[in-house]
Protein backbone atom coordinates (compact mmCIF):
# COMPACT_ATOMS: atom_id res chain seq x y z
CA UNK A 1 0.00 0.00 0.00
CA UNK A 2 2.97 2.33 0.26
CA UNK A 3 2.51 3.25 -3.40
CA UNK A 4 -0.82 4.83 -2.49
CA UNK A 5 0.84 6.68 0.38
CA UNK A 6 3.41 8.07 -2.05
CA UNK A 7 0.70 9.15 -4.48
CA UNK A 8 -1.17 10.92 -1.70
CA UNK A 9 1.98 12.59 -0.38
CA UNK A 10 2.97 13.79 -3.84
CA UNK A 11 -0.33 15.36 -4.75
CA UNK A 12 -1.06 16.88 -1.35
CA UNK A 13 2.30 18.68 -1.23
CA UNK A 14 1.42 22.29 -2.09
CA UNK A 15 4.88 23.03 -3.49
CA UNK A 16 4.22 20.57 -6.32
CA UNK A 17 1.46 22.74 -7.69
CA UNK A 18 3.24 25.92 -8.78
CA UNK A 19 6.54 27.25 -10.07
CA UNK A 20 8.70 26.05 -12.94
CA UNK A 21 8.73 22.52 -11.51
CA UNK A 22 5.03 22.57 -10.66
CA UNK A 23 2.53 20.06 -12.01
CA UNK A 24 0.76 22.59 -14.32
CA UNK A 25 4.06 23.58 -15.97
CA UNK A 26 5.27 20.02 -16.41
CA UNK A 27 1.87 18.88 -17.66
CA UNK A 28 1.79 21.67 -20.26
CA UNK A 29 5.30 20.77 -21.42
CA UNK A 30 4.36 17.11 -21.64
CA UNK A 31 1.24 17.88 -23.66
CA UNK A 32 3.28 20.12 -25.93
CA UNK A 33 5.84 17.38 -26.72
CA UNK A 34 3.15 14.74 -27.13
CA UNK A 35 0.90 16.76 -29.40
CA UNK A 36 3.80 17.88 -31.56
CA UNK A 37 5.08 14.33 -31.97
CA UNK A 38 1.59 13.02 -32.72
CA UNK A 39 1.03 15.77 -35.29
CA UNK A 40 4.30 15.04 -37.09
CA UNK A 41 3.62 11.30 -37.07
CA UNK A 42 0.09 11.85 -38.38
CA UNK A 43 1.32 14.12 -41.17
CA UNK A 44 3.70 11.34 -42.23
CA UNK A 45 1.52 8.31 -41.60
CA UNK A 46 -2.00 9.37 -42.60
CA UNK A 47 -1.48 10.47 -46.24
CA UNK A 48 0.79 7.53 -47.05
CA UNK A 49 -1.62 5.10 -45.39
CA UNK A 50 -4.65 6.60 -47.13
CA UNK A 51 -3.12 6.59 -50.60
CA UNK A 52 -1.52 3.15 -50.42
CA UNK A 53 -4.72 1.80 -48.88
CA UNK A 54 -6.81 3.33 -51.65
CA UNK A 55 -4.77 1.76 -54.41
CA UNK A 56 -4.24 -1.44 -52.41
CA UNK A 57 -0.56 -1.49 -53.23
CA UNK A 58 2.59 -1.28 -51.19
CA UNK A 59 1.30 -3.45 -48.37
CA UNK A 60 4.60 -5.31 -48.21
CA UNK A 61 6.59 -2.08 -48.19
CA UNK A 62 4.43 -0.74 -45.37
CA UNK A 63 4.84 -3.93 -43.36
CA UNK A 64 8.60 -3.63 -43.88
CA UNK A 65 8.72 0.02 -42.78
CA UNK A 66 6.59 -0.82 -39.75
CA UNK A 67 8.79 -3.75 -38.73
CA UNK A 68 11.91 -1.65 -39.23
CA UNK A 69 10.76 1.29 -37.16
CA UNK A 70 9.34 -0.95 -34.45
CA UNK A 71 12.76 -2.57 -34.25
CA UNK A 72 14.55 0.73 -33.57
CA UNK A 73 14.98 1.11 -29.81
CA UNK A 74 13.33 4.37 -28.77
CA UNK A 75 15.62 5.12 -25.86
CA UNK A 76 18.81 4.28 -27.74
CA UNK A 77 17.70 6.42 -30.64
CA UNK A 78 17.17 9.33 -28.25
CA UNK A 79 20.68 9.07 -26.80
CA UNK A 80 22.18 8.73 -30.26
CA UNK A 81 20.27 11.68 -31.69
CA UNK A 82 21.31 13.90 -28.80
CA UNK A 83 24.94 12.93 -29.33
CA UNK A 84 24.72 13.66 -33.03
CA UNK A 85 22.45 16.70 -33.08
CA UNK A 86 22.99 18.22 -29.66
CA UNK A 87 20.39 19.03 -27.04
CA UNK A 88 16.98 20.36 -28.01
CA UNK A 89 13.46 19.35 -28.90
CA UNK A 90 14.37 18.00 -32.36
CA UNK A 91 16.37 15.00 -31.13
CA UNK A 92 13.47 14.11 -28.82
CA UNK A 93 10.89 14.33 -31.58
CA UNK A 94 12.73 11.85 -33.84
CA UNK A 95 12.39 8.76 -31.60
CA UNK A 96 8.83 9.70 -30.63
CA UNK A 97 7.82 10.02 -34.28
CA UNK A 98 9.56 6.75 -35.17
CA UNK A 99 7.55 5.15 -32.37
CA UNK A 100 4.22 6.58 -33.49
CA UNK A 101 4.38 6.20 -37.27
CA UNK A 102 3.96 2.38 -37.50
CA UNK A 103 0.60 2.14 -35.69
CA UNK A 104 -0.80 5.11 -37.63
CA UNK A 105 0.53 3.96 -41.00
CA UNK A 106 -0.44 0.30 -40.73
CA UNK A 107 -3.87 0.92 -39.24
CA UNK A 108 -4.74 3.59 -41.82
CA UNK A 109 -3.68 1.33 -44.68
CA UNK A 110 -5.67 -1.60 -43.28
CA UNK A 111 -8.65 0.60 -42.45
CA UNK A 112 -8.98 1.94 -45.99
CA UNK A 113 -8.58 -1.52 -47.45
CA UNK A 114 -11.21 -3.02 -45.21
CA UNK A 115 -13.89 -0.48 -46.16
CA UNK A 116 -16.99 -2.18 -47.58
CA UNK A 117 -16.31 -2.29 -51.35
CA UNK A 118 -19.91 -1.82 -52.52
CA UNK A 119 -20.28 1.91 -51.64
CA UNK A 120 -16.85 2.48 -53.18
CA UNK A 121 -17.96 0.79 -56.39
CA UNK A 122 -21.19 2.76 -56.33
CA UNK A 123 -19.28 6.02 -55.95
CA UNK A 124 -17.03 5.08 -58.83
CA UNK A 125 -20.04 4.11 -60.93
CA UNK A 126 -21.57 7.53 -60.27
CA UNK A 127 -18.45 9.06 -61.77
CA UNK A 128 -16.74 10.32 -58.64
CA UNK A 129 -13.07 11.10 -59.18
CA UNK A 130 -10.63 8.95 -57.23
CA UNK A 131 -9.70 11.77 -54.85
CA UNK A 132 -13.32 12.28 -53.85
CA UNK A 133 -13.86 8.53 -53.47
CA UNK A 134 -10.95 8.46 -51.07
CA UNK A 135 -11.93 11.52 -49.05
CA UNK A 136 -15.73 11.27 -49.10
CA UNK A 137 -16.41 7.54 -49.18
CA UNK A 138 -13.43 5.59 -47.95
CA UNK A 139 -12.21 8.05 -45.30
CA UNK A 140 -15.53 8.26 -43.40
CA UNK A 141 -15.91 4.49 -43.56
CA UNK A 142 -12.39 3.89 -42.33
CA UNK A 143 -12.50 6.59 -39.67
CA UNK A 144 -13.20 4.40 -36.61
CA UNK A 145 -10.16 2.22 -37.29
CA UNK A 146 -7.97 5.19 -38.23
CA UNK A 147 -8.86 6.91 -34.96
CA UNK A 148 -7.96 3.68 -33.19
CA UNK A 149 -4.51 3.77 -34.76
CA UNK A 150 -4.04 7.41 -33.78
CA UNK A 151 -5.18 6.61 -30.27
CA UNK A 152 -2.73 3.78 -29.90
CA UNK A 153 0.06 6.04 -31.18
CA UNK A 154 -1.01 8.82 -28.80
CA UNK A 155 -0.93 6.54 -25.75
CA UNK A 156 2.53 5.30 -26.64
CA UNK A 157 3.77 8.87 -27.14
CA UNK A 158 2.29 10.12 -23.85
CA UNK A 159 3.94 7.30 -21.98
CA UNK A 160 7.27 7.57 -23.81
CA UNK A 161 7.58 11.38 -23.86
CA UNK A 162 8.89 10.96 -20.31
CA UNK A 163 12.29 10.16 -21.80
CA UNK A 164 12.62 13.81 -22.86
CA UNK A 165 13.62 14.51 -19.26
CA UNK A 166 16.66 12.25 -19.62
CA UNK A 167 18.18 14.75 -22.05
CA UNK A 168 17.46 17.80 -19.95
CA UNK A 169 14.02 18.78 -21.21
CA UNK A 170 10.90 19.13 -19.11
CA UNK A 171 7.63 17.24 -19.11
CA UNK A 172 6.31 14.83 -16.51
CA UNK A 173 9.40 12.70 -17.02
CA UNK A 174 11.25 15.35 -14.99
CA UNK A 175 9.64 13.97 -11.82
CA UNK A 176 10.56 10.41 -12.71
CA UNK A 177 14.19 11.08 -13.67
CA UNK A 178 14.81 13.57 -10.84
CA UNK A 179 13.09 11.30 -8.38
CA UNK A 180 15.31 8.43 -9.51
CA UNK A 181 18.52 10.37 -8.96
CA UNK A 182 17.33 12.00 -5.73
CA UNK A 183 16.08 8.64 -4.45
CA UNK A 184 12.73 10.34 -3.99
CA UNK A 185 10.16 7.61 -4.73
CA UNK A 186 7.30 9.92 -3.94
CA UNK A 187 8.24 11.98 -7.00
CA UNK A 188 8.65 8.91 -9.22
CA UNK A 189 5.31 7.45 -8.24
CA UNK A 190 3.61 10.84 -8.53
CA UNK A 191 5.02 11.31 -12.02
CA UNK A 192 3.98 7.82 -13.07
CA UNK A 193 0.47 8.46 -11.79
CA UNK A 194 0.27 11.70 -13.76
CA UNK A 195 1.31 9.88 -16.95
CA UNK A 196 -1.20 7.09 -16.39
CA UNK A 197 -3.97 9.62 -15.78
CA UNK A 198 -2.94 11.53 -18.89
CA UNK A 199 -3.12 8.29 -20.89
CA UNK A 200 -6.62 7.64 -19.58
CA UNK A 201 -7.62 11.19 -20.50
CA UNK A 202 -6.22 10.54 -23.98
CA UNK A 203 -8.43 7.45 -24.25
CA UNK A 204 -11.39 9.55 -23.20
CA UNK A 205 -10.62 12.29 -25.73
CA UNK A 206 -10.40 9.79 -28.57
CA UNK A 207 -13.64 8.18 -27.45
CA UNK A 208 -15.32 11.60 -27.54
CA UNK A 209 -13.82 12.47 -30.93
CA UNK A 210 -15.07 9.15 -32.30
CA UNK A 211 -18.57 9.89 -30.98
CA UNK A 212 -18.63 13.24 -32.75
CA UNK A 213 -16.67 12.54 -35.93
CA UNK A 214 -17.78 9.05 -36.95
CA UNK A 215 -20.94 9.08 -38.98
CA UNK A 216 -23.85 7.30 -37.23
CA UNK A 217 -24.33 4.90 -40.14
CA UNK A 218 -20.74 3.73 -39.95
CA UNK A 219 -20.91 3.40 -36.20
CA UNK A 220 -23.99 1.21 -36.36
CA UNK A 221 -22.54 -1.19 -38.90
CA UNK A 222 -19.19 -1.27 -37.11
Amino acid sequence: MNVLTFIHAFFSDGSHWHGYDGIPTRLTEHLHYSLQALAIAAVIGLPIGLITGHYGRGGNAIALVATGSRALPTFGLLVLMVMWLGFGLGPVMIPLVVLAVPPILVTTYEAVRSVDPSPVDAARGMGMPESRILLQVELPGALPLILGGLRSAAIQIVSTATIAAYVGLGGIGRYIIDGLYQRNYEKVVGGATLVAVLALVTLGVFWAVARVAVSPGVRRSG
Partner: protein, 238 residues
Protein backbone atom coordinates in the same frame (compact mmCIF):
# COMPACT_ATOMS: atom_id res chain seq x y z
CA UNK B 1 34.91 -2.50 -37.33
CA UNK B 2 37.05 -3.53 -34.40
CA UNK B 3 36.36 -0.21 -32.84
CA UNK B 4 32.67 -0.71 -33.44
CA UNK B 5 32.57 -4.02 -31.63
CA UNK B 6 34.75 -2.84 -28.77
CA UNK B 7 32.95 -3.06 -25.44
CA UNK B 8 34.25 -0.81 -22.64
CA UNK B 9 35.64 -2.84 -19.80
CA UNK B 10 33.41 -1.30 -17.13
CA UNK B 11 30.49 -3.30 -18.46
CA UNK B 12 32.36 -6.49 -17.59
CA UNK B 13 30.85 -8.32 -20.49
CA UNK B 14 31.57 -9.24 -24.09
CA UNK B 15 29.60 -8.21 -27.14
CA UNK B 16 28.01 -11.62 -27.48
CA UNK B 17 27.44 -11.72 -23.73
CA UNK B 18 25.46 -8.50 -23.93
CA UNK B 19 23.43 -9.88 -26.84
CA UNK B 20 22.53 -13.04 -24.94
CA UNK B 21 21.65 -10.98 -21.87
CA UNK B 22 19.53 -8.62 -23.93
CA UNK B 23 17.61 -11.46 -25.56
CA UNK B 24 17.05 -13.10 -22.19
CA UNK B 25 15.75 -9.91 -20.60
CA UNK B 26 13.46 -9.29 -23.57
CA UNK B 27 12.14 -12.73 -24.43
CA UNK B 28 11.47 -14.28 -21.02
CA UNK B 29 8.90 -11.52 -20.26
CA UNK B 30 7.06 -12.12 -23.54
CA UNK B 31 7.00 -15.84 -22.80
CA UNK B 32 5.69 -15.14 -19.30
CA UNK B 33 3.12 -12.79 -20.82
CA UNK B 34 1.99 -15.53 -23.19
CA UNK B 35 1.68 -18.05 -20.36
CA UNK B 36 -0.50 -15.63 -18.39
CA UNK B 37 -2.57 -14.38 -21.29
CA UNK B 38 -3.60 -17.80 -22.67
CA UNK B 39 -5.72 -18.72 -19.62
CA UNK B 40 -6.71 -15.08 -19.06
CA UNK B 41 -7.95 -14.79 -22.64
CA UNK B 42 -9.82 -18.08 -22.30
CA UNK B 43 -11.58 -16.71 -19.22
CA UNK B 44 -12.47 -13.57 -21.17
CA UNK B 45 -13.92 -15.66 -23.98
CA UNK B 46 -15.88 -17.76 -21.52
CA UNK B 47 -17.17 -14.90 -19.37
CA UNK B 48 -17.81 -11.98 -21.69
CA UNK B 49 -18.30 -9.47 -18.88
CA UNK B 50 -14.71 -10.03 -17.82
CA UNK B 51 -13.20 -8.77 -21.06
CA UNK B 52 -13.74 -4.96 -20.76
CA UNK B 53 -12.31 -4.66 -17.22
CA UNK B 54 -9.32 -6.82 -18.23
CA UNK B 55 -8.72 -4.58 -21.25
CA UNK B 56 -8.95 -1.46 -19.15
CA UNK B 57 -6.56 -2.68 -16.49
CA UNK B 58 -3.96 -3.86 -19.02
CA UNK B 59 -4.22 -0.47 -20.74
CA UNK B 60 -3.70 1.47 -17.52
CA UNK B 61 -0.71 -0.70 -16.61
CA UNK B 62 0.64 -0.23 -20.13
CA UNK B 63 0.43 3.55 -19.74
CA UNK B 64 2.85 3.54 -16.79
CA UNK B 65 6.23 4.62 -18.20
CA UNK B 66 8.75 1.79 -18.04
CA UNK B 67 11.28 3.78 -16.03
CA UNK B 68 8.77 4.65 -13.32
CA UNK B 69 7.67 1.02 -13.20
CA UNK B 70 11.30 -0.07 -12.76
CA UNK B 71 11.95 2.43 -9.99
CA UNK B 72 8.87 1.41 -8.04
CA UNK B 73 9.90 -2.24 -8.30
CA UNK B 74 13.43 -1.57 -7.01
CA UNK B 75 11.93 -1.55 -3.53
CA UNK B 76 10.82 -5.15 -3.95
CA UNK B 77 13.23 -6.82 -6.35
CA UNK B 78 16.29 -4.58 -6.18
CA UNK B 79 18.35 -3.39 -9.13
CA UNK B 80 18.17 -6.70 -10.90
CA UNK B 81 17.11 -8.27 -14.18
CA UNK B 82 13.83 -9.27 -12.56
CA UNK B 83 13.01 -5.61 -12.05
CA UNK B 84 13.36 -5.06 -15.78
CA UNK B 85 11.48 -8.20 -16.75
CA UNK B 86 8.35 -7.75 -14.63
CA UNK B 87 7.13 -4.55 -16.34
CA UNK B 88 7.94 -5.98 -19.76
CA UNK B 89 5.76 -9.02 -19.10
CA UNK B 90 2.95 -6.75 -17.92
CA UNK B 91 3.24 -4.63 -21.07
CA UNK B 92 3.03 -7.68 -23.32
CA UNK B 93 -0.44 -8.46 -21.94
CA UNK B 94 -1.95 -5.41 -23.60
CA UNK B 95 -1.18 -6.88 -27.02
CA UNK B 96 -1.42 -10.61 -26.32
CA UNK B 97 -4.73 -10.82 -24.45
CA UNK B 98 -6.86 -9.11 -27.14
CA UNK B 99 -4.94 -10.96 -29.86
CA UNK B 100 -5.78 -14.34 -28.34
CA UNK B 101 -9.37 -13.39 -27.45
CA UNK B 102 -10.10 -12.19 -30.99
CA UNK B 103 -8.35 -15.17 -32.52
CA UNK B 104 -10.24 -17.72 -30.44
CA UNK B 105 -13.54 -15.91 -30.98
CA UNK B 106 -13.01 -15.77 -34.73
CA UNK B 107 -13.03 -19.56 -35.10
CA UNK B 108 -16.20 -20.25 -37.15
CA UNK B 109 -19.11 -21.86 -35.33
CA UNK B 110 -19.34 -24.62 -37.99
CA UNK B 111 -15.77 -25.63 -37.27
CA UNK B 112 -16.52 -25.87 -33.57
CA UNK B 113 -19.70 -27.85 -34.30
CA UNK B 114 -17.76 -30.19 -36.54
CA UNK B 115 -15.25 -30.79 -33.77
CA UNK B 116 -18.02 -31.43 -31.27
CA UNK B 117 -19.70 -33.83 -33.69
CA UNK B 118 -16.43 -35.71 -34.00
CA UNK B 119 -16.59 -36.25 -30.27
CA UNK B 120 -14.03 -33.64 -29.15
CA UNK B 121 -14.40 -32.55 -25.54
CA UNK B 122 -13.94 -28.89 -24.66
CA UNK B 123 -10.26 -29.28 -23.71
CA UNK B 124 -9.33 -31.24 -26.81
CA UNK B 125 -11.36 -28.88 -28.97
CA UNK B 126 -9.45 -25.94 -27.50
CA UNK B 127 -6.02 -27.51 -27.91
CA UNK B 128 -6.50 -29.14 -31.31
CA UNK B 129 -8.93 -26.83 -33.08
CA UNK B 130 -9.20 -23.36 -31.60
CA UNK B 131 -5.58 -22.84 -30.68
CA UNK B 132 -4.06 -23.95 -34.01
CA UNK B 133 -6.52 -21.76 -35.93
CA UNK B 134 -5.58 -18.87 -33.65
CA UNK B 135 -1.83 -19.34 -34.25
CA UNK B 136 -1.40 -16.66 -36.96
CA UNK B 137 -3.07 -13.97 -34.86
CA UNK B 138 -1.23 -15.01 -31.70
CA UNK B 139 2.09 -14.84 -33.53
CA UNK B 140 1.15 -11.46 -34.97
CA UNK B 141 0.62 -10.30 -31.39
CA UNK B 142 3.90 -11.86 -30.29
CA UNK B 143 5.71 -9.95 -33.04
CA UNK B 144 4.53 -6.60 -31.71
CA UNK B 145 5.17 -7.61 -28.10
CA UNK B 146 8.74 -8.85 -28.70
CA UNK B 147 9.67 -5.81 -30.79
CA UNK B 148 8.63 -3.44 -28.02
CA UNK B 149 10.17 -5.66 -25.35
CA UNK B 150 13.56 -5.73 -27.10
CA UNK B 151 13.44 -1.95 -27.44
CA UNK B 152 12.44 -1.33 -23.80
CA UNK B 153 15.17 -3.47 -22.21
CA UNK B 154 17.61 -0.63 -22.96
CA UNK B 155 15.80 1.64 -20.51
CA UNK B 156 16.96 -0.72 -17.76
CA UNK B 157 20.31 1.03 -18.15
CA UNK B 158 18.98 3.78 -15.90
CA UNK B 159 18.54 1.49 -12.91
CA UNK B 160 22.08 0.39 -12.26
CA UNK B 161 23.13 -0.86 -15.68
CA UNK B 162 20.46 -3.52 -16.10
CA UNK B 163 19.83 -2.62 -19.74
CA UNK B 164 22.11 -5.16 -21.49
CA UNK B 165 22.90 -3.50 -24.83
CA UNK B 166 21.37 -0.32 -23.41
CA UNK B 167 24.29 -0.02 -21.00
CA UNK B 168 26.41 0.98 -23.99
CA UNK B 169 24.31 4.15 -24.18
CA UNK B 170 25.48 5.18 -20.74
CA UNK B 171 29.10 4.58 -21.70
CA UNK B 172 28.58 6.51 -24.93
CA UNK B 173 27.54 9.44 -22.75
CA UNK B 174 30.22 9.33 -20.07
CA UNK B 175 33.11 8.58 -22.46
CA UNK B 176 31.62 10.81 -25.17
CA UNK B 177 31.97 8.05 -27.76
CA UNK B 178 28.90 8.07 -30.06
CA UNK B 179 30.12 4.84 -31.62
CA UNK B 180 28.93 2.94 -28.53
CA UNK B 181 25.45 4.40 -28.98
CA UNK B 182 25.48 3.47 -32.68
CA UNK B 183 26.51 -0.05 -31.75
CA UNK B 184 23.72 -0.29 -29.17
CA UNK B 185 21.01 0.99 -31.52
CA UNK B 186 22.11 -1.01 -34.55
CA UNK B 187 22.57 -4.26 -32.63
CA UNK B 188 19.24 -3.89 -30.87
CA UNK B 189 17.46 -3.18 -34.15
CA UNK B 190 19.10 -6.17 -35.87
CA UNK B 191 18.12 -8.41 -32.95
CA UNK B 192 14.53 -7.21 -33.18
CA UNK B 193 14.42 -7.90 -36.91
CA UNK B 194 15.96 -11.36 -36.53
CA UNK B 195 13.54 -12.34 -33.78
CA UNK B 196 10.69 -11.01 -35.90
CA UNK B 197 11.85 -13.15 -38.83
CA UNK B 198 12.07 -16.17 -36.52
CA UNK B 199 8.48 -15.61 -35.43
CA UNK B 200 7.30 -15.37 -39.04
CA UNK B 201 9.13 -18.61 -39.78
CA UNK B 202 7.49 -20.24 -36.77
CA UNK B 203 4.10 -19.24 -38.09
CA UNK B 204 4.84 -20.72 -41.49
CA UNK B 205 5.98 -23.96 -39.86
CA UNK B 206 3.03 -24.15 -37.47
CA UNK B 207 0.38 -23.42 -40.10
CA UNK B 208 1.25 -25.65 -43.03
CA UNK B 209 -2.33 -25.40 -44.34
CA UNK B 210 -2.01 -21.73 -45.16
CA UNK B 211 -1.09 -20.54 -48.65
CA UNK B 212 2.39 -19.11 -48.71
CA UNK B 213 4.93 -17.48 -50.94
CA UNK B 214 2.47 -15.70 -53.20
CA UNK B 215 3.82 -12.49 -51.68
CA UNK B 216 3.50 -9.60 -54.06
CA UNK B 217 1.15 -11.14 -56.55
CA UNK B 218 -1.65 -12.18 -54.19
CA UNK B 219 -2.97 -9.02 -52.64
CA UNK B 220 -4.62 -10.69 -49.72
CA UNK B 221 -2.40 -13.56 -48.69
CA UNK B 222 -3.31 -14.92 -45.34
CA UNK B 223 0.10 -13.97 -44.02
CA UNK B 224 -0.59 -10.34 -44.79
CA UNK B 225 -3.93 -10.60 -43.13
CA UNK B 226 -2.46 -12.00 -39.96
CA UNK B 227 0.14 -9.24 -39.73
CA UNK B 228 -2.40 -6.64 -40.54
CA UNK B 229 -4.67 -7.88 -37.79
CA UNK B 230 -2.24 -6.65 -35.17
CA UNK B 231 -2.83 -2.91 -35.27
CA UNK B 232 -6.52 -3.55 -35.04
CA UNK B 233 -5.85 -5.67 -32.01
CA UNK B 234 -3.55 -3.15 -30.43
CA UNK B 235 -6.23 -0.65 -31.14
CA UNK B 236 -8.97 -2.58 -29.45
CA UNK B 237 -6.83 -2.80 -26.37
CA UNK B 238 -6.21 0.85 -25.83
Amino acid sequence: MNDFLHIPSDLQNTYSGLIVLHLREALIPVLAGLVVSLPLAQLCVRFRWLYPPVLWSTTVLYAIPSLAFFVVLIDYTGMSETTVMIPLSVYSLVVLVPAIVDAVRSVPQETLDAATAMGFGPVRRYLQVQLPIAVPTIIAGLRVATASSISLVSVGMLIGNQGALGNLLHDANIYNRPVYAVNSVVTTAVLAILVDAALVLTRVLLTPWMPRGTGRAGRKTSGDRADAAVPALEESAR
